[in-house]
């Protein structure tokens, strides 16, 4: 397989960083298209694995994803290039804005463009979500539980008392391990009979 050049790695994440508006999940549709479908650096399944790992480890998800893919392609130096690529748009754009702090959000053209982009992001994340659900085991109970959890978190958000997702991430991880241990325990018992 041909080695990915460091410049290409950096430019790819620079482009993704440039189009990631409004929180880490906004980069999921972009990663899906660029990293999974176009470059084939990851499979869909690996991507969901990495999102899950990124949620349970420190740092913004977008940075974690770029570090991971960079390392996969070119080792430590690749991780550094990809992560810097992701960070450069933030750095440059915010530096420019910091000079024009007050006028930036008051500009009708800029705020209009931003309002439009927010709508696109919702459409894109919804579409990426639809794709990700296909990686879940086809289990009705599981989907009901996911729906209930989402509804609860959404209701808490609306009431103005959001709970950090990390507690549910930890809970989900523990639950997965406990269920796995139980299954093995029952399996061992039934084998003994």
């Amino acid at each position: 397989m041909k080695k990915t050049s460091l410049i290409k790695l950096m430019m790819t994440f620079l482009r993704i960083g440039l189009f990631t508006f409004g929180g880490g999940y906004a980069m999921i549709p972009l990663m899906q298209r660029v990293v999974v479908e176009d470059e084939k650096w990851l499979t869909y399944g690996e991507m969901l694995d990495i999102i899950a790992i990124a949620e349970a480890t420190p740092g913004p998800i977008a940075l974690n994803m770029s570090t991971f893919v960079g390392y996969r392609q070119r080792g430590i130096i690749g991780a550094i290039f990809a992560t810097l690529g992701m960070a450069i748009p933030s750095l440059v754009i915010i530096m420019i804005i910091a000079y024009f702090k007050d006028s930036f959000l008051d500009n009708r053209i800029i705020s209009g463009a931003l309002s439009g982009m927010k709508v696109a992001i919702v459409v894109l994340i919804a579409s990426a979500l639809w794709k990700l659900t296909h990686l879940m085991p086809k289990n009705l109970l599981l989907f009901i539980l996911i729906g209930l959890l989402a509804a609860t978190l959404f209701a808490l958000d609306l009431l103005g008392t959001p709970i950090s997702g990390i507690f549910f991430i930890i809970g989900g991880g523990l639950l997965g391990v406990v269920l796995h241990a139980l299954k093995r325990f029952i399996g061992v018992r039934s084998k003994q009979k």
Binding site: R15, F19, F21, G22, G23, Y25, I28, P29, R33, E37, D49, A52, E55, A56, T57, G59, P60, I61, A62, L63, N64, F68, A79, I80, T83, A87, S90, I94, M95, K101, R108, I109, S111, G112, A113, L114, G116, M117, V119, A120, V122, L124, I125, L132, T133, L135, I146, L149, A150, L153, D157, G165, I166, F168, I169, G172, G173, G176, V177, L179
Partner: protein
Amino acid sequence: MIYLELFYVFLSVGLFTFGGGYAMVPILKTEVLSRGWMTERLFIDFISISEATPGPLALNMATFVGMEMGGILGAVIASLGMILPSLVVITLIAAVFKKMMDKPVVQAALSGIKPVVIALIATTVLFLLTKLLWPVSYASIDIRHLILLIDLSTLYFGYRYLNKKPLHPMMLILIAAASGILIFGF
């Protein structure tokens, strides 16, 4: 020295930011306000600008606060502090990824985490949608956002239906920006 302090603050914020940028907002707020670096008003302004500009929220905030406190060098140092924990932790994980994924206990934990991630993403979609369509009160729906939402969904999903490859997300974002200027800009 301000540079060291910036580096330390963002390193610790980066280290304790689990699960997305919003988790670090309260931690960063306490750090910044208790050090008397800026007023709460300015901090809140920074959040709204960081939300509206490209890049991860946490990184935008690091650049902003760094710039305010130590100019360009401050911004670079604060951002590096923010990036370092991700870089180290994820590089370590990536190095043992294959071996790690073979462990049944890791698979078991991930099989529990993945549905939660799906639920979190779904919550985000619902929340963003609500904020867009009912920005002021739930009594009145924002018609312009609704029209744009219907147009963009029709375009994106219609294009996917008609073509093999879906419309590039960056393309949709650019089209949305142009439509946003037309609808909201004048």
